[in-house]
């Protein structure tokens, strides 16, 4: 309940505090993080290639929006589909390996997609990006109005959060966590581990794809960075800082990360330094990220009150 109130409050207050574009980006990045965390937090798979699915969806849906004027809902559907499909392809190759090899494979395949986008300038615009992506009117709602688009993204974010909550509380969520806890035993009790990892990968890819399309429509452009490894690293960073052990961790991570990179960066060029410090603190003292700090604070407070 407290979490829901917090989310509702931040949805309402955020556009008052920062520019609507930044507020919107925060929720989009949170959807991206929700997807990654199904892999990182729940299944224990560190994917360093999530921008593959984010970027692919952004390019494909962006291209169709720009040249064929497809409807917004179709663009979202296609984005989710491209995200899931590219994740199926990449995931199929990656889940055959585990540990460091898995991480390197996700990274290498990300680079492969990056260079395709870099070279294929007639479609992607290469280094210049793919500009001119419209935000078509949907059912009379004019998404050119930044607040209207913000509301639209928030609705999709809430739907994603609800969906992800259902997934992690379903048997699949339990099975993925069981794989994280003990792969050998999960296999022995009757789960074909690679198949479940692939399923997690595809689901995460679908969320990334949704985020990718929303991102393309937000900025009207798909920059080459949207499919680059730095972007993949950012979502891992944000999720770890927020807390990979919790469903809500990536949301907080997205707040911290986007706010630092968009707001603080204009005041202080060396802002990544703050990110580095935050990361070191998380790794050394707070493996559960901000979420853990929060719960620790509340246990400390209630113990002081009773004691």
């Amino acid at each position: 309940m407290r979490t829901l109130i917090l989310i509702a409050l931040s949805i309402l207050l955020l556009p008052l505090v920062v520019r609507p574009a930044i507020a919107t980006e925060i929720w989009i990045f949170a959807i991206f993080g929700l997807g990654l965390n199904l892999l990182l937090g729940y299944t224990g798979m560190l994917s360093f290639g999530q921008s593959t699915f984010f970027g692919s969806a952004a390019y494909v849906a962006g291209w169709l929006l720009k040249h064929y004027g497809i409807n917004v809902l179709a663009a979202l559907g296609i984005g989710v589909g491209v995200g899931a499909l590219s994740a199926l392809l990449v995931g199929y190759l990656c889940v055959q390996r585990s540990g460091l090899y898995f991480i390197m494979l996700t990274f290498a395949l990300n680079q492969l997609f990056y260079f395709i986008a870099y070279q294929w300038t007639t479609v992607t615009g290469g280094e210049d990006g793919m500009p001119g992506i419209p935000r078509p009117v949907l059912l009379g709602l004019d998404f050119q109005d930044p607040l209207m688009y913000y509301a639209f993204v928030v609705v999709l974010f809430l739907a994603s959060l609800w969906l992800m909550k259902r997934i992690v509380e379903s048997p699949l969520g339990k099975i993925l966590q069981a794989i994280r806890e003990n792969e050998v035993r999960a296999e022995a009790v009757g789960y074909h581990v690679p198949r479940f990892k692939l399923l997690a990968f595809v689901l995460a890819g679908a969320f990334s794809g949704l985020a990718g399309v929303l991102y393309a429509m937000l900025f009207g452009i798909v920059p080459l960075e949207a499919i680059g490894f730095v972007f993949s690293g950012n979502v891992v960073f944000a999720t770890l800082i927020g807390g990979s052990g919790s469903l809500y961790g990536p949301i907080i991570g997205s707040f911290v990360f986007i706010w630092l990179s968009e707001s603080v960066s204009t005041m202080w060029a060396r802002w990544p330094l703050l990110l580095g410090v935050a990361f070191v603190i998380v790794v050394l003292f707070l493996r559960g990220g901000v979420v853990e700090a929060w719960t620790r604070f509340w246990t400390w407070r209630s113990s002081k009150q009773t004691g």
């Binding site: 259902r166 997934i167 509380e169 379903s170 048997p171 699949l172 969520g173 339990k174 099975i175 966590q177 069981a178 806890e181 003990n182 050998v184 035993r185 999960a186 296999e187 022995a188 009790v189 009757g190 789960y191 074909h192 581990v193």
Partner: protein, 249 residues
């Protein structure tokens, strides 16, 4: 009638033949023990039976049907469940969640796999609780697996196998690392399971074996060197030389 059989089953790792032409018949409803010195190939035999890796040659039959080469994840669905010599549980899960995951795997359908909340599977929950009850851990259902004692973890290890509602239980040294007291408890547990399941038991502690087994097979350097009732095994001179008498004999 033999429920589980192997026919000249072998496994080689390079030049080492860990399991050498083992032909074994486990009768339905019996407790069949496999004994042998360290490195005799007992655990490798279990790994072959449960599909951890395929055999180099030979066949495995369950209920007269060949299951040789069936991958590990399929084996549980065929009714073969194992416990591990080294505790292999889900540490951050509550005891109930541990057995719940195992019970769900072999539940009749996976309907709602992606969306139905886990608490809406009454039949799975019931089987999970029954498995915990069978090993005497139901009163600790909500504790985390990493927070219970080693002895209790060994009991949980057993419960994970039971939760799959298997036809054949393969127990790999259930009493490994237990104190005399805990060992007695474990023996009582295994004895209580006897008759309800067909059990194949690997054990080092010879007194346990002699008191609970219906039949005993003796492995030595990967081969079966004897099989019989506990009395027959105790009298067998070759077994005494290889195992019971130890190196000194």
């Amino acid at each position: 009638m033999a429920l589980l059989e192997t026919d000249r089953l072998s496994k080689s790792f390079g030049a080492l033949t860990a399991v050498n032409a083992v032909t074994l018949r486990v009768e339905a409803g019996t407790l069949h023990s496999i004994i042998g010195p360290n490195g005799a190939g007992k655990t490798t035999l279990f790994n072959l039976l449960t599909g951890t890796f395929p055999p180099s040659s030979g066949r495995i039959l369950l209920d007269q049907k060949e299951i040789t080469g069936t991958p590990a994840a399929r084996i549980a669905h065929l009714g073969l469940a194992r416990s591990y010599q080294r505790t292999t549980v889900f540490p951050a899960f509550s005891l109930l969640d541990n057995v719940w995951v195992a019970a769900f795997a072999t539940s009749r359908s996976w309907n709602g796999l992606l969306f139905r909340p886990t608490h809406k599977y009454p039949e799975v929950l019931e089987r999970a609780r029954a498995a915990l009850d069978d090993v005497g851990l139901l009163n600790k259902a909500n504790q985390l697996a990493r927070e219970i004692s080693h002895g209790e973890q060994r009991q949980l290890e057993l419960a994970l196998a039971l939760a799959a509602a298997p036809r054949v239980l393969l127990l790999d040294e259930p009493a490994a690392g237990l104190s005399p007291d805990e060992t007695r408890k474990m023996v009582a547990l295994v004895r209580a399971l006897k008759g309800r399941y067909t059990i194949v038991l690997i054990e080092h502690k010879i007194d346990i074996i002699m008191s609970v087994s219906d039949r005993i097979s003796v492995m030595h350097f990967g081969s079966l060197i004897a099989e019989g009732t506990p009395e027959e095994i105790q009298k067998n001179p070759e077994v005494r030389r290889a195992y019971l008498g130890g190196v000194a004999a």
